[in-house]
Symmetry: C2
Subunit: 203 residues, 2 copies
Amino acid sequence: MPPEALALLPVTTAAAERSDAARNRQLLLDAAEQLVREFGADGVTMDAVARSAGVGKGTVFRRFGTRSGLMLALLDQSERKLQAAYMFGPPPLGPGAPPAQRLIAFGRARLAGIEVEGEMRRAADDSSRYSSPPYNITKSHVSLLLREAGAAGDIALLADSLIAALDAALVLHQIRVLGYTTEQVADNWERLVRWVLADASVE
Amino acid sequence: MPPEALALLPVTTAAAERSDAARNRQLLLDAAEQLVREFGADGVTMDAVARSAGVGKGTVFRRFGTRSGLMLALLDQSERKLQAAYMFGPPPLGPGAPPAQRLIAFGRARLAGIEVEGEMRRAADDSSRYSSPPYNITKSHVSLLLREAGAAGDIALLADSLIAALDAALVLHQIRVLGYTTEQVADNWERLVRWVLADASVE
């Protein structure tokens, strides 16, 4: 599947809206986005959005149904903005910079929108996972080995990043949906470890 | 916090059980684990576990409450087995091998238990995420840049692994609970990208 065809998928849904309704909706989303920036995601209530956009609270409810509907719309909007920025925007995020620089910029841009994305995920509530004893035992073990192997950078953050590559939902998707073997996934893990420790001495 | 103190946490809960009850429970868990190996996680029903362990179905329900309770117990058991293996077991997973080798073995061992872990996660139902258009647009973009940058290995698997490091729930945990700044998280991302592309030409 060519990445360009795939990349244009979500933009089409917005095109179906009548343009005045779309403008109205955009006004509310801009107000909500501004509230996230100023007060964090917790500051985004239907009430606050209505007040900030100068409309009645009923308008916000009619538009988005629930607060989680509003959050979903915000998530969709920030995804599409990021998408436009990396496909058509100025370098280093957009075309024109070397790929490694664009990749670095992509991660940084994604991190800038992490609050809104996180609020959506919190609705699904998997947030206690990283505070759980099993996760932290695993993290201690991986951190210890990284330290012993002489890894550079912030060891704890690096441990989180590596463990994320072993996430069960992700790996099962790779195996069951994408058709990889466990061995291929394990080889990907091994390459990742070897790259991370390339400056250290991997025996 | 010393990793050893943390690592001994979950073992203590089992010690509180009376030993015959614990033996009984272990019998059922062994039967369930055997069913997972033979038929996959979907083959583990309360009925099948009872039949396989030669007890009444009521016994399995009394022990674990629900199928998801049984899955949770299996998850806990496989976590504790893995923990014992990397702390006290033979190398390369256990002590005695160089840290990089132990790290590689750790990932491979974790992948071996991924079915049970995945079944638990499926209960929380975040499984459609990796099939969603937004995820796949992101993955196309990251894959494209990795390819352009001359990355080695399986590009699609590598893209999954890198994107996992930007997971919103993980990053927000790092920032809100662990006290990192977004800048520190972004620097960790940049180091990761640079290591992965070290053999390619990162400008």
